[in-house]
C-alpha cells in the first residue's frame, strides 16, 4: 500500500526538466490577446508531507518581462534551487543554489530572517527560463505556517498552473486543504483525482494589472489556492462548525485570562450600573464613553495620558496578571482593552452581542470553508439591536464614536455571537450612509480694493472624517495642533493671523479646525481676478490616470461621504461675479454641484460632493471615471470677479 502511495505521489510529481517544444518558442507578445512581457508556460506545485515542490517554465519576451524569471525567497527556506536560461539557438546558462544571493532581511532579539534572491544569469529579452525548488513542509504546509496562499493569475499571462495535493500519510492533526475561487467557471480549471492525490489545473489566465480602486481578492481573475490548518476537534459541517467555534474557541479566547480586577473596579462598575440608562443603545454608548475615559489606549493617547504610560515588556510574559495590571494602571493595547471591555459588558449585563467582522482587504469570507482566519477572534465589535437592525460599537477603536466603526468592514459578512448562550449566526454589517461621513468647511472672505484679502475657515466632520481629525489632533498638545495648521497654511502670499483646534482634547467632542488668514492678490494692471474659492480643500478621492482596458475587479472606494464647502465673499462695491459658474451632475456613483450667487457685495459659492457608497460593481467603471472627471473639475474650478470699471 505504501509503495502504491509512493508511486502515485511520484506520478503526481512536478514534470521537472522536459525538453522545450516548438510551441514554447512560438509564444510571442500579442497585444490583441493582452499578452505582454512574459508568459508563464508551466507552473506546478506539489504538496507532500515534508516538502512542497515547485517548478516553473517562463517565456521571456521583453526587458520588463525579465522580472518574471526572478526568484525571491522571503523565508530563506527554499532548497535545491536549480534551473537554466535557454536561448532560441539552444544555448543555455545553468544556475543553481550557488547563484542565490542571500542577504539579511531582519534580525531582532529572538528572530533572524534572511532573504534570498536570484536574478537568473544570462537572461535576455528572448529566452525561456526554468526553475525548480523545494520548500520544507510539515504535514503538507510550509514549516511553521498555518495557511498557504497562491494566486493563480500573475502580472504575466499564465498558460498552465497546477496544484497537486498528495495524501498526507500522517493522519494525526490532519489539515484540510480547500481550493477556493471567487468565480467558479468550470472551463478555467480541471480536477484530476486519484486515490492518493488531487490535482487542480488552471489554464489560460490573463495577466493581472493593477486596477484603480481594485481589490486583489475580488476580481474575475482572482482565483487562488488557499490551504489552511483546521480545528480537528470541531465538527466540519455547516450546521455545527461555527456554533462549536463560538462555544469552544471564541469563548476561550475572551475568557481565558483570569480577571481579578479588585475593589476599585467593582466600585466603578457599581457606579456605572447605577447610572445606566434604560435604553440599551444609550446604555452602551455611555459605557463605551466611560470606558474610554477610564482606560487609555496606548496607541491613541493624549500627551497627558502618554506621559503616564510606563509599560515594560516583561509584563506580557505573565498572562494571568495582564488584565489586573491593565485595570490598575488604566491603559492597555487593543487586545488587553478588548478583554477588559468584554468583562465590563458581561458584568453590566448589557444586551449586546459580539460581532466579528470580515474586512474588504482580506479574502472574501466563505462560511463553507470552515476557515476562521477571516476573523480576529480577540477583537469583537458589539451590537445592540433596534428594530431588527444592529447598532454597531467598536469599543477599542477609540477614534470612532458610538455607532461608528471602520468602513472597511461595512456591507460584509460578520459572525455574530451571543455571549450568553455562545451561539452564533452570520449577518451582514449595515453600511453607513454618505451623510454619516460628512465634512463641512465654511469660509468667509473679505476682499479689498487693493487686492488684499482676509479669510476665515472652519472645518468639522463626522464619521470617518471625525475619526481622521481625532487621530490627527488628539495625540498632540494644543500648541502643536495649531502650529501644524499654521505651517500648512503659511506661504509667500498668506499670513495666518489666528489658528485653533477645538474639541480635540477628548474622544467625545466634535473637532473643529479654524484659521484666520490674510493674503494678497496682485491686481495691478488686471481687470479680472480669478480666485480659488476653497483653498486647502481635500480631494476626496485620488485621481488615477491609468486604467487597464479590461475591468476585472469591482470598484472599492474608501467610504461613502458627503462634503460641503461654502464660501461667503464680501467684495468691494462694483466688483461683479463673472461668467457661467453653476452646474450640477449626478449618476449612480454620486452627485456634484457647484453654485455661485451674488447679491450686492455678497458673493456666495457652494460646492456639494456626495459619494453614495463605497462599493460598486465593475460595470459602473465608466460612471466612476465620469464622476471623477466632475470631481476634478469642481475641485479646480476658480471663480472670476470683474473689478470695478475694469475691462478684460
Amino acid at each position: 500500500m505504501y509503495l502504491t502511495l509512493m508511486l502515485m505521489a511520484l506520478l503526481a510529481a512536478p514534470p521537472g526538466e522536459k525538453p522545450l517544444s516548438a510551441s514554447d518558442w512560438a509564444v510571442v507578445q500579442k497585444p490583441e490577446a493582452d499578452i505582454y512581457d512574459a508568459v508563464v508556460l508551466i507552473d506546478t506545485t506539489s504538496f507532500f508531507d515534508t516538502a512542497i515542490e515547485r517548478f516553473r517554465r517562463v517565456r521571456i519576451l521583453s526587458e520588463s518581462g525579465k522580472v518574471a524569471a526572478e526568484f525571491r525567497d522571503e523565508t530563506g527556506t527554499a532548497k535545491s534551487l536549480q534551473g537554466r536560461v535557454v536561448l532560441p539557438d539552444g544555448s543555455e546558462t545553468r544556475f543553481s543554489q550557488e547563484d542565490l544571493v542571500e542577504t539579511l532581511s531582519f534580525s531582532s532579539r529572538r528572530h533572524k530572517g534572511s532573504s534570498r534572491l536570484l536574478v537568473p544569469p544570462g537572461l535576455t529579452t528572448d529566452c525561456i527560463v526554468e526553475l525548480s525548488w523545494t520548500i520544507p513542509a510539515q504535514r503538507g504546509l510550509p514549516l511553521k505556517a498555518s495557511t498557504y496562499f497562491e494566486a493563480i493569475a500573475e502580472p504575466w499571462y499564465v498558460a498552465t498552473k497546477s496544484f497537486t495535493f498528495n495524501k498526507i500519510r500522517s493522519q494525526a492533526n490532519e489539515f484540510l486543504v480547500r481550493q477556493l475561487w471567487t468565480t467558479a467557471e468550470p472551463e478555467r480549471f480541471s480536477v484530476d483525482k486519484g486515490s492518493a492525490y488531487t490535482r487542480v489545473t488552471y489554464r489560460n489566465f490573463q495577466a493581472v494589472a493593477e486596477q484603480p480602486f481594485g481589490n486583489e481578492f475580488r476580481h474575475e481573475q482572482g482565483h487562488y489556492v488557499y490551504a489552511f490548518r483546521y480545528y480537528s476537534d470541531l465538527n466540519p459541517s455547516p450546521d455545527k462548525f461555527w456554533g462549536e467555534l463560538a462555544q469552544k474557541v471564541i469563548r476561550n479566547n475572551l475568557t481565558w485570562l483570569k480577571f481579578a480586577p479588585g475593589s476599585e473596579w467593582d466600585a466603578w462598575v457599581q457606579e456605572l450600573k447605577a447610572a445606566l440608562p434604560a435604553d440599551p443603545v444609550a446604555a452602551m454608548t455611555m459605557v463605551q464613553s466611560q470606558f474610554r475615559r477610564k482606560f487609555t489606549l496606548i496607541s491613541l493617547a493624549s500627551p497627558e495620558q502618554a506621559a503616564r504610560i510606563m509599560r515594560t515588556t516583561k509584563e506580557n510574559d505573565i498572562p494571568e496578571r495582564i488584565l489586573g495590571n491593565v485595570v490598575r494602571r488604566g491603559y492597555g493595547d487593543y487586545y488587553e482593552l478588548s478583554m477588559v471591555f468584554f468583562h465590563l459588558v458581561e458584568e453590566l449585563k448589557l444586551p449586546a452581542v459580539l460581532i466579528f467582522p470580515t474586512s474588504i482587504d482580506q479574502m472574501p469570507f466563505n462560511p463553507k470553508s470552515f476557515d476562521d482566519n477571516s476573523f480576529n477572534l480577540y477583537l469583537p465589535f458589539y451590537a445592540i439591536y433596534v428594530n431588527d437592525r444592529p447598532v454597531v460599537f467598536a469599543p477599542v477603536y477609540y477614534e470612532y464614536r458610538a455607532g461608528y466603526y471602520p468602513s472597511r468592514h461595512m456591507a460584509l459578512p460578520a459572525l455574530q455571537v451571543d455571549p450568553r448562550s455562545w451561539t452564533s449566526q452570520f449577518i451582514v454589517l449595515p453600511p453607513l450612509s454618505a451623510e454619516s461621513n460628512r465634512l463641512v468647511t465654511q469660509y468667509r472672505t473679505t476682499l479689498q480694493e487693493n487686492g488684499e484679502m482676509e479669510m476665515s475657515y472652519k472645518r468639522q466632520g463626522t464619521g470617518e472624517y471625525l475619526s481622521y481629525f481625532t487621530r490627527k489632533h488628539f495625540p498632540l498638545p494644543a500648541a502643536e495642533r495649531t502650529q501644524n495648521l499654521i505651517h500648512a497654511w503659511s506661504t509667500q502670499h498668506t499670513t495666518v493671523t489666528a489658528a485653533a483646534v477645538e474639541g480635540a482634547d477628548d474622544l467625545e467632542s466634535v473637532v473643529t479646525e479654524t484659521i484666520t488668514a490674510k493674503s494678497r492678490n496682485n491686481i495691478s494692471n488686471i481687470s479680472r481676478l480669478a480666485i480659488d474659492p476653497f483653498p486647502h480643500s481635500m480631494l476626496p478621492i485620488d485621481l488615477p490616470s491609468v486604467w487597464p482596458e479590461r475591468r476585472e475587479q469591482d470598484l472599492f472606494l474608501s467610504f461613502a461621504q458627503q462634503t460641503i464647502d461654502l464660501n461667503t465673499f464680501t467684495v468691494p462695491e462694483g466688483w461683479r461675479l463673472f461668467g457661467e459658474n453653476d452646474w450640477e451632475h449626478s449618476n449612480q456613483i454620486g452627485s456634484i454641484k457647484f453654485k455661485c450667487t451674488q447679491e450686492g457685495t455678497k458673493v456666495t459659492v457652494r460646492r456639494d460632493f456626495v459619494l453614495n457608497r463605497s462599493f460598486y460593481p465593475r460595470e459602473l467603471e465608466g460612471q466612476l471615471k465620469e464622476f471623477l472627471a466632475w470631481m476634478d473639475e469642481a475641485f479646480n474650478q476658480t471663480i472670476a470677479l470683474d473689478l470695478k470699471g475694469g475691462t478684460p
Partner: protein, 629 residues
C-alpha cells in the same frame, strides 16, 4: 559570531537606571532649554563622533543626546540608527537611556533593537540599518544613545554630514589614528554661517540649524556642510588627491576588465560592442561584498550573468572592447542630482556616484560625445543608457564634469553642449468638440531625447505601457481614451506617436468660462515661503521644452480673451498664439531654464519665482479660458 547575534550579546545590563550617564547630563546642562530652536521637533544637544583608524579599520564611537520638544516628533527622536553592511560592520556596543519628564530613567532593552536589510532584485545589497528605539517617548523627555561600531573600508577617508532635519546644539568630531596624522577638510561651513573651533584631533561646531522641508530646495548633500576626514597612507593613497584616486581606480578597473588595447580609430568595433551591451545586459545595482561599490566584477562574469551596475557594465564594455583590440578607461561622475562637481572640490571618492567608459581615440571619429584633454581625445559612452544613440549622451549629462581615470592621474573634462541628446516634446491635437465639450480627434507626439521616458518604456516594455507612461506624465483623466496607437523611432532616437483620442470634458468650467485641460497647459506653480521664513537656497529645476499645436473645430463661438500671450524672463520662455475662427488654432510653447539662488540672493529668487507664477496665472485666465462672444 554573526552580526546580529553579536548585537544582542552586547546589549546587557539592567533595564532601569537611576540617572542618565554623566556625558549626557552634562550636555543637557549646557543648553538653555528655554531658548530651544523654534519649531524644532527635537534638539540634538550633543552629537559626538569619535573616529579611530587603526590597522586599516575605522572604529566609530558616537554619543547622541536629544531633547524632545514636540510630541509629534517624539517617535522620531526616540529612534537611533546605525548604517552598516552585513559582513563589513560590527556593532561592538550599543546603549541607550530614556529619561522621562517625571525623572525616571529607562535603559535600552534588547527587544528594542532590530536590524533590517534592503536587498531587492533591482538593488542587490548587504547594506543594513540597525534601529534602536524607545517606546512611549514624550515631549519633555530626553533620550541618549551611545554606540561603538567597527568597519572595514576601501578608503582611508570618510565624510561626516553636519546637518539633519533637526537642529544640533553641539557637534563634536574627534579623531585618532595609529599613523598619527589626519587630513581634515570642513566644506561649505562658511556659506551656512557655521564656525568651527578646531584643535588637535578635535573639531567643534555649535548651533547647527535644521534642514527644513522647503520646496525647490537643493537636492544634493554636497550642497550642505560636511567634513572630509582622511587618514592618508601617503601621496599614493586613493583619497589623497584626484590624481591618486584616478590612478588607483585605473588599476582596479583594468583588473576587472582584464583587457588592453590600442587607441580606437574605427567606429565599427565600438558600435558593435555598444549594440551587444544594449541588447544583452540588464542594469541591476549589486553591492554584495565590501568594496563592491567601487570594484567591478570581472568582465567575463558580467557577460555570463548578463546583468550588473554601472561599474560592471563599464568593465564588461572595456573587456569586450579589449577583445576587439580597443582600450577603454573609466570616467567617474555624479548624476541624478543638480549638483555639478568639478576639480575644485576637495578630493574625495564620495563625490562620485556613477562611472561610464571613456574610449581613447586615435583621431576624431565624428561623434558628438568626444572630449579633448590636452593632446588626448576620448569618446564618452554610458553603457547603462541603452537608448541614446551611440556617440551621444542623454540629456541628464548637460553641463556635467567627469574625471577620466588614467594611469597618469585625473583628466577632468566637461560634457560638450553638442554631445547631449537634447530633450524636448511636441504634441499635436487636431479634432472637433461636441456640444458637451468632448473632444474627438488625432493626437500626435514627438519626443526627443527620451524627454518623458516614453522611449525607454517603449523599448523595455510595450506600446501599452508607453501610453500609460504618457497618461501618468500628463495626469490625463481616466475618461480619456487613446486607441489605434502607432509608434515609430527614427535613427536619431526621436519617438513619434499617433493615436485617436476621445476626451470627454475637454473644456472645464473655470474663471467663469471654459478652460483647456490642465494636462495641456500645466498645473499652477508651487507657492513658496516668505523670505523671513525661508531657510534654504532656491534651486529651480529645468522644465523640458514642451509645445502644443491644437486645431479645434466646433468651438461654437468660444474664444480666448487674448490672441497671443508671451513672455521671456530669467526663468524661461513662454508663448501662446491663438487664432479664432471656424477652426481654433493654438500654438503654445513653454520651457524653463534651471536657476540657482544662493542664500544671499534669496530675495531675488523669491521675486523671480513670484513673477513667474503671476505671469503664469494671468496667462491661465486670459489666454486658456474661453468665453462666448
Amino acid at each position: 559570531m554573526k552580526f546580529s547575534t553579536l548585537i544582542m550579546f552586547l546589549l546587557c545590563g539592567s533595564l532601569f537606571a537611576s540617572e542618565l550617564p554623566d556625558w549626557a547630563s552634562q550636555a543637557v546642562s549646557q543648553v538653555d532649554v528655554a531658548n530651544a530652536p523654534k519649531e524644532a521637533g527635537f534638539w540634538t544637544v550633543l552629537d559626538r563622533t569619535r573616529i579611530e583608524y587603526r590597522g586599516g579599520k575605522f572604529r566609530r564611537k558616537r554619543q547622541v543626546v536629544r531633547l524632545i520638544l514636540q510630541q509629534g516628533s517624539a517617535e522620531e527622536a526616540a529612534v537611533y540608527t546605525i548604517d552598516g553592511e552585513e559582513k563589513n560592520t560590527r556593532i561592538e556596543a550599543l546603549n541607550g537611556w530614556h529619561r522621562r519628564a517625571d525623572g525616571s530613567v529607562k535603559k535600552l532593552f534588547k527587544k528594542n533593537v532590530m536590524t533590517l536589510g534592503f536587498s531587492t532584485s533591482r538593488y542587490l545589497t548587504r547594506e543594513t540599518t540597525t534601529y534602536a528605539f524607545f517606546e512611549q517617548a514624550n515631549r519633555g523627555d530626553i533620550v541618549a544613545f551611545e554606540s561603538d561600531e567597527s568597519e572595514s573600508n576601501l578608503f582611508t577617508a570618510t565624510t561626516i554630514m553636519l546637518m539633519s532635519n533637526q537642529p544640533t546644539a553641539m557637534k563634536i568630531i574627534e579623531w585618532q589614528s595609529d599613523s598619527g596624522s589626519a587630513r581634515v577638510q570642513p566644506v561649505n561651513l562658511e556659506s551656512w554661517g557655521l564656525s568651527v573651533q578646531q584643535s588637535e584631533g578635535r573639531l567643534e561646531i555649535r548651533n547647527i540649524p535644521q534642514i527644513r522641508d522647503e520646496s525647490l530646495a537643493p537636492d544634493d548633500s554636497l550642497f550642505f556642510p560636511y567634513v572630509n576626514l582622511a587618514f592618508l597612507a601617503g601621496d599614493s593613497d586613493p583619497s589623497a588627491s584626484w590624481d591618486s584616486l584616478a590612478r588607483w581606480y585605473t588599476g582596479v578597473f583594468q583588473s576587472a576588465a582584464s583587457s588592453s588595447g590600442n587607441l580606437a580609430n574605427d567606429k565599427a568595433p565600438l558600435e558593435n560592442v555598444a549594440q551587444t551591451i544594449a541588447k544583452s545586459m540588464t542594469y541591476r545595482q549589486v553591492y554584495l561584498e565590501p568594496g563592491r561599490g567601487w570594484k567591478p566584477l570581472a568582465g567575463a562574469e558580467v557577460e555570463r550573468r548578463a546583468y550588473g551596475d554601472c561599474k560592471d557594465l563599464s568593465a564588461c564594455t572595456a573587456y569586450k572592447l579589449g577583445k576587439s583590440g580597443v582600450m577603454a578607461q573609466p570616467a567617474l561622475a555624479r548624476i541624478a542630482t543638480n549638483f555639478l562637481i568639478d576639480a575644485t572640490l576637495p578630493a574625495s571618492p564620495y563625490v562620485f556616484n556613477h562611472v561610464i567608459v571613456a574610449i581613447p581615440l586615435a583621431q576624431s571619429l565624428g561623434y558628438a560625445a568626444e572630449v579633448v584633454h590636452g593632446e588626448r581625445r576620448f569618446l564618452l559612452y554610458d553603457p547603462t543608457d541603452r537608448y541614446t544613440p551611440f556617440g551621444q549622451l542623454s540629456h541628464q549629462w548637460k553641463g556635467r564634469n567627469l574625471m577620466i581615470c588614467d594611469s597618469n592621474g585625473a583628466l577632468w573634462v566637461t560634457v560638450p553642449a553638442g554631445a547631449v541628446n537634447q530633450a524636448s516634446i511636441q504634441f499635436g491635437l487636431v479634432g472637433a468638440l461636441d456640444a458637451n465639450n468632448s473632444f474627438k480627434g488625432k493626437w500626435t507626439v514627438s519626443e526627443r531625447g527620451d524627454a518623458m521616458g516614453l522611449l525607454t518604456v517603449l523599448n523595455e516594455a510595450s506600446e501599452r505601457d508607453m501610453i500609460n507612461q504618457l497618461r501618468e506624465m500628463l495626469s490625463l483623466p481616466g475618461l480619456v481614451t487613446l486607441t489605434n496607437c502607432k509608434s515609430q523611432v527614427d535613427a536619431t532616437g526621436t519617438l513619434s506617436l499617433e493615436m485617436d483620442v476621445i476626451w470627454p470634458g475637454f473644456l472645464q468650467r473655470n474663471a467663469g468660462g471654459l478652460r483647456l485641460p490642465t494636462a495641456i497647459i500645466g498645473q499652477s506653480l508651487v507657492t513658496l515661503e516668505r523670505l523671513e521664513e525661508r531657510q534654504l537656497p532656491l534651486w529651480i529645476d529645468e522644465l523640458t521644452s514642451r509645445s502644443w499645436h491644437l486645431e479645434l473645430s466646433g468651438m461654437n463661438g468660444l474664444a480666448a480673451l487674448k490672441d497671443s500671450w508671451s513672455w521671456k524672463e530669467t526663468l524661461g520662455e513662454f508663448s501662446w498664439k491663438a487664432t479664432n475662427g471656424e477652426t481654433f488654432v493654438v500654438d503654445y510653447q513653454r520651457q524653463r531654464s534651471p536657476a540657482r539662488y544662493a542664500l544671499a540672493d534669496l530675495k531675488d529668487g523669491l521675486k523671480a519665482w513670484e513673477d513667474y507664477g503671476t505671469n503664469f496665472e494671468r496667462f491661465l485666465v486670459n489666454a486658456t479660458v474661453f468665453y462666448r462672444n
